[in-house]
Each structure stands twice: as structure tokens, then as C-alpha cells.
Amino acid sequence: MARLARCPSCGAPVEFKSVASVLAVCDYCQSTLLQDGEALQNLGKMAALVEDRSPLQRGAEGRWRGRQFGLIGRIQLNWDQGLWNEWHILFDDMKSGWLSEANGEYVVSEAKRVSEALPAFDQLELGRLYMIDGRAFTLTNLLTATCVSGEGELPFKVGAGYPAPVADLRDDNGAFATLDYSDDPAKPLVFIGEPVAFKSLAWANLRDLSALPQPTLKARSFACPTCGAPLQVAHEKIETVGCGSCGAVLDTRNEKVAQIAQAQRQLLAAPLIALGSKGTLQGEAVEVIGYMSRSTESEGIHYYWREYVLAAPEGRFVWLTEYDGHWNVARVLSRTLRAGAGQVRMDGADFKHFSSYQASVDYVIGEFPWRVTLDETATIHDYVLPPRMLSQEVTPNEQTWSLCDYIEPGEIVAAFGLKTALPPPRGVYANQINPHEENHRRTCSRFWKFSLAATAIYILLLIIGPGSNLTTQPVSYGPNDDDEPKLTREIPLPKGARRLEVSHSTNLSNNWVGLNMTLVNKDTGEAWQAYREISRYEGVDGGESWSEGSRDDEVIFTDLPPGTYVLAEEPEMDPLAPRVGAEIKIATAGPRWSSLLLAVIFLMLFPIWTRMRKGGFEVTRWAESDHPIVTSGEDDE
């Protein structure tokens, strides 16, 4: 139930829509009015809000998780990196909550009583896990902001200059928590919610930005206080401008531009995409507003890369990074991820740790939505799953995760309509797609199909092929047999068959037999000779059994013309050897497993080759990482 009161200063009506509101700022005289029982206590004038061109305003309405809400108040805060708004929202069930608006990110949260004992502000550690309301959150941001101003209804007492020590936490499912130590540095207020897409809140009664007088922020021109070069701020939420002429970094939050840093190095390379270039990148309208050169040092060598800040719709920002001609589109994630054991998991996919390094900003040109510092270094941990890469950037106060997508230079040229081609990539980049990967996958796929076909052909010919048994005949060999050769039955060679397989299965034991075989074509008198020695020795030596040779033997007669054949055998044996029993089997030769093996080995050469090429690319990729792939050759060295 709304409560109406009169401003004790100007008499204008002041409305308290939420029972939770204890403070209101008079819309007419900006008096800060504190509810004191039924009376209103005037705490004095509230400072003016800084025009930030937010699309939100008091009275705007939206919908979140099926609940209608309205904006009834706002606190505007300031910290090292810029301004942000905390909008006090009132749901249709009369519960209140907060909508945070910072750098194009929106977070809806509600106050929560939690059972966990939370540490004091000065005991918090960035990157550490904290259990809040039964969930594990990672501390991602630690800051002490200052209240700039407020408007409308607020549930607690605020005023310009009030310090607000707060900690932001995120979990890996996208949930968000804020610990607010404004009232008590030892016991925080807890707010839990989630980042939301602006459009998903189904807004009504938003602020009409076009009705604003073209503001100071729109194409605000000024001269660089260091070198006098003409500069301008042409976009919303710009905190810093880098002078391309002298390398000065300028604070543009106030009308009086102040220098906050000076580049110590020369700008090594001009932007490949001019500032102000507009285009459509991955379906999103963007404009290049800032350019920075960053570097890291390893073993005395500096490595440089370039980052472009792109302004995207709804006040969001996208980054383009370029190193040695390799480009990535990077977007800051609204959630945190937990790294462990050399990898980090996101949406079921594992990204492998690639490298960690210290990065510093060397030079900036153009507009930046945060306060750029040249002296501060950030620790960056890169995890790759080509063509994607997760990059964790850690500063003393903040840790953020960005998702990078590798993009070909040609796409950049097309996106911005560049008239000249970008330099071709050099070397292999961390998350570059392995160009041999797809080739290897297709080759492997074909290898399995070919192998399956070869096996199917083998089985098919085994069943219905020309291989068939022509005769099986028992025989025995003795040392005292007469000199007459042992003859098999007559064997008609089937039409089309040109090979006969003669197999012997014997009961040899510690013995041998030599067989002089003559295969005779009875029709032509032609004869084919073969000599086979079959031997089998076995025993036990030192408790271990051993054997040598085989009781069985096969030989193939090839290039046989059609006809009827007889096999004649003349055995040779040790004169003292016992008699040997055997079975002769004569068959037309069928499919051979050895041919199948040979075909598969030959077919395997191609996948082996593509695998080597793919592996070689990965060796080159990981040579630049903290985990180079050590080949056996390098190991020997």
C-alpha cells in the first residue's frame, strides 16, 4: 500500500510505494527525506545525478521470472573503473529487489537471509569460493565504491560520498551474488540474483533518449591537455580517452579533462581497423571506438598484441584481439568458471590450459568504457578448445572470464568493408582451428568404410566364393614303404579356378617327413613340383614345455590350366622313425586373411599420414604454450 507524504522543504507530494523504503528524494527540490515514524526528516539536498544516458528511468516497468516490477529508486555509484546504477525495484508482490546496471551488464537480485557466516570485508579473497545460500560462489570483484547520488525511494539511508564496500560473486551456472558491507564492514547484506539480457525483461516506459538534448557526451570535442591534438568522446559510458598523438591517457568523466597516465613506449603499429569504422560482425552492428597495444615479457622478449574495443547495441562492448595476424572476437562472460587440473569446463566442454602470463597496457588510442591504467599489470590465463578460447584476466580487484572465438582475417575485412586485405596470419595461434583436423576425420571415416568393405568382401567370398574342398583323403607315411608314389584321387579343376591349395594335417611328434609332391595334369601330362618338409618337435625343459615346427602344412599350386589332376607324393623319412598318419586336403584357393591384412595395412597409410600432419600442427601450436608437446627426439637431447 503506497504512502503519500509532503516534502517538509517544498511541500511537494512524496510517495513511498514500498513498505521497505525508508528514504526518498523529493523530485522537486532534491531534499533527502528519511522516514522517522510518521514524520519525514529532511537530511538536506541530494547531489545531482551524473547524466549517464541510461535507458532506464523511475517508473519504467519490466518482467523477471514471471513477476512484474517497476523501478522506484536509484543509487548512482562511482568506483575506479566508472559509474554504475543500482535501481531499486518493486515487484508486484510488494517485495523489493535491485537491478544493477554497469557497463552494459544488467543483474537482477533480491536480498536474502543466509545461514552461512560470511567473512568481514577485509578478510575476503579474490578468486576464493564462498558458500552462500547453499551454493558455491567465486569472488570476482572487490571494490569500495562511492555514492554519487540517489533518487526516488530507497530502503536505506544514503548520501553523496557514502563509501560502499561491496563484493561481487558469481557461480559457474550464471548466478550472481553481492555482499554489501555499507552498513557493517563485518556483516554484509546479501543479494542473490542473475545477469539478464536487457531485452529479456520486456520493458515498458523506458527513457526516451532521443528526447534528451544532444548531450555533452555526444561528440564532445576537446584538445589533448598534453599535446593539443584534437580529441573527442562520441559514445556513451566512456571513462578514458587515449591520445594517438602523444600517448596520453585522459580521464573524460568530467568536463575538465585530466591526464591520468602517459605511455612510456612508442606506438609500434597503427590500428589495422581505423577508429570509427562501423560494420556488422557476427550479425551484430559494431563500431570501433578504442585501440590498445598490450604486451607481455618472457625470457627478456616482449610479445605485443592489439585489442580493439567495439561498441555494440544496448551499451555492450565486444573486443577484437590481433596477434601476428590471428584475430579473435572476445566477449566478457557474465559468469565465472572454476579452473582445475590444467583445464576449465564450460557447458560440458573442457578447455585445456595453454599459458599464463602477465600483461600490461602499453598504448591506448580512442575511447574506453573503463579507466585505463598503464602501470597496472593483469595476470591472464588462457584455456583453449579451438576455435574457442577462455581467457581469465585477474587484477588485484577483479577477475573476469572472456570467451574468444577465432576469426579469419577475411571475415574482419568483410565485416568492416576494409579496402585492403589484412596481413596473413603467421605461425600457429593458440585457438586456431587445426586445418588438418577435418581432413584427418574424413580420412579416418573413409578408412573405416574401406576396411568394413574389405572385411565384407572377405566374408562374402568365404561363403559364396570359388574356394571349395575338392577332396580329403587319409594317408600314412612309413620309412619302409615301397618306392611307388602315393596317389590321390583324380581331381577335376573347376572352371575358372587356377589355384589349388594342398594341405596336410599330420600326427607328427618329435619327427619329420619330407614330401616330394608332383601335381600332374592327366589331360596334358604337365607336372608341377613342390617339396615340403613337415616337422614337429616338442618337450619339457627345466619344467617348461616347448615346441617347434608345425604338424600342418599348406602349399599352393598356381597358374593351373583346366583339367583333371592327380597328386603324387614320395615321402622321405628317418629310417627309424615311426609311421606317420596324415590327411590330405585339396581345395581351390579361397579368400586369404593375409590379403585382407595387407589391404587394411595399405589403407591405413593414409590416416597415419593425416594423423602425423595433424599432430605436427598441434606440436607447433603447443610449442608456444606452457605445456609444449615433447617429442621423443627432443627428449633424447
Binding site: 578408412f447 604337365e526 598356381t558
Partner: protein, 48 residues
């Protein structure tokens, strides 16, 4: 490109392989002397 070459080579290998399997040619076969002899003894013994 490699995948296309592999397709072509693989089909050729399968063709040769199928022919060899039909003929019963094996990689590890022990093969008898393929040159026939024509001896009068053999003819008198076996030739009708």
C-alpha cells in the same frame, strides 16, 4: 584434397583386393614352382 585422393586410391585398392581374394592370392602363401615340366616318366605313369 587428401581425402579425395584417398577416396580414389582406396577404391583402387578395394578393386585389386577383391580380384586377389577371388583368385585366392595370399600374402603369406607358400607357392609351388609355377613352371610345369613334361617328363616322359610322368606321362607314362599318369597319362592315359
Amino acid at each position: 584434397m587428401m581425402a579425395r585422393i584417398y577416396m580414389f586410391v582406396g577404391l583402387m585398392v578395394l578393386g585389386v583386393y577383391s580380384w586377389a581374394q577371388y583368385q585366392g592370392v595370399g600374402l603369406f602363401d607358400d607357392v609351388a614352382d609355377s613352371r610345369p615340366t613334361r617328363s616322359s616318366g610322368a606321362r607314362s605313369t599318369f597319362h592315359k
